[in-house]
Amino acid sequence: MKKIISLEEAAKLVKDDMTIMVGGFLGVGSPEKILKELIKNNVKNLTLIANDTSFPGQDYGDLVVHKMVKKVIVSHIGTNKETGNQMHSKELEVVLVPQGTLAEQIRAYGAGLGAVITPTGIGTVVEEGKEILEVDGKRYIVEKPLRADIALIRASKADKNGNLIYDKSARNFNPIMAMAADIVIVEADEIVEVGELDPNFVMTPHIFVDYIVGDDK
């Protein structure tokens, strides 16, 4: 059985200077409750790996607003003007990565691969300073795997052992982040008994999950 912990306990696992991955796509499918709790703790100098920086006033978008983040590795910042502001004032380092590359970099770490060999970004600024690998006469960028100390993810259902099911487009980066962090904390909309999820349809096997957060009790 995995440890079911409170929101407070979950948020406390995130400490200054950590690298965290947060699931979600413009906030959809992100662990909102854990993030709300985390913001209360006012942790500092985080490196945030996510698809984007969401919107100000919600979920991981507010990590930036509250200046808890020193560096973001994301594919898009256009929906959170605070990210752009802090980037221009040099308070925040912004690393922009093509979305598909970002997804594969996270998957590559989880899968024990040494690099991602992608055509995306060839001929653009994205290739600058990076190693190029030629395969059968075609040029590819060598992108390194991405890992995190903690992944904060969101599932629609978790059994008490940590098997997960996601709902619709809220799945997005959650399953791959579950494989790429030392500690994985899932915020589940519903916690069910072991045996209630059909093994054929589990989306993240329980071995990837360390802690489950249900409600605030």
């Binding site: 959809v28 598909g100 997804a103 970004g121 994205v126 619709k168 799945r171 997005n172 989306m203």
Partner: protein, 219 residues
């Protein structure tokens, strides 16, 4: 021309490119409108890069599902023939060449098929999102945009803004006409009858090659 009419002309024309059974990704903004003009006689599957295929029409008010949104985080629906997947699979579809068309807007596009649509240094840095993968991976890339933007010419000999991808654009559709990117340059294959060739060329900073069988664009 009326702004909405301009958008409609462009979106309607792009939709004509699709064939039965194809998979298409429509970017946010103007390209999204293309969905409204796809013929009901063909079955075209729309991908939403945040993680599904089979995107349907926008939900009615009150029927939005917070867990079902498009790549712009707006409420979406899925057809009963659709399927959800994670982001790695979504971009495997895109990068792996399984997408027949991607339709995107542009800041600049040039006669080599280069595209710039993700940043203006020092000014606008939203990030590339999925655009670089889409333009690199899709079988065909269609740029759907107004011919100029606030008086600025966008179709150039060579892009000056940071590129989204090199030599990947196949076609440009604007309210003035339809252009194909070829080895020889940009060929005007259809023209809006409201404009002369000279008028189109005037707001295009790449030399237009006029197709021998140039057609009138439906407006």
């Amino acid at each position: 021309m009326d702004k909405n009419k301009v958008k409609e002309i462009i979106a309607r024309r792009v939709a004509k490119e699709f064939k039965d059974g194809q998979l298409v990704n429509l970017g946010i903004g103007l390209p999204t409108l293309v969905a409204n003009y796809i013929s009901h006689d063909i079955d075209v599957t729309l991908q939403s890069e945040n993680g599904f295929i089979g995107m349907g029409i926008a939900p009615k008010e009150g029927e939005e599902d917070p867990n079902l949104t498009n790549a712009g985080a707006l409420p979406a629906t899925i057809k009963n023939s659709g399927a959800f997947f994670d982001s790695a699979t979504s971009f495997a579809i895109i990068r792996g060449g399984h997408l027949d068309y991607t339709v995107l807007g542009a800041l600049q596009v040039d006669e080599k098929g280069n595209l710039a649509n993700w940043m203006i240094p020092g000014k606008l840095v939203p990030g590339m999102g999925g655009a670089m993968d889409l333009v690199t991976g899709a079988k065909k890339v269609i740029i759907a945009m107004t011919h100029t933007s606030r008086g600025n010419v966008k179709i150039l000999e060579e892009c000056t803004l940071p590129l989204t991808a090199k030599s990947q654009v196949d076609m440009i559709v604007t309210e003035m006409g339809v252009m194909k990117i070829t080895d020889k340059g940009i060929v005007l294959i259809e023209k809006n009858p409201e404009f002369t060739v000279e008028e189109v060329q005037k707001v295009t900073f790449a030399k237009l090659i006029i197709s021998d069988d140039m057609k009138e664009m439906e407006i």
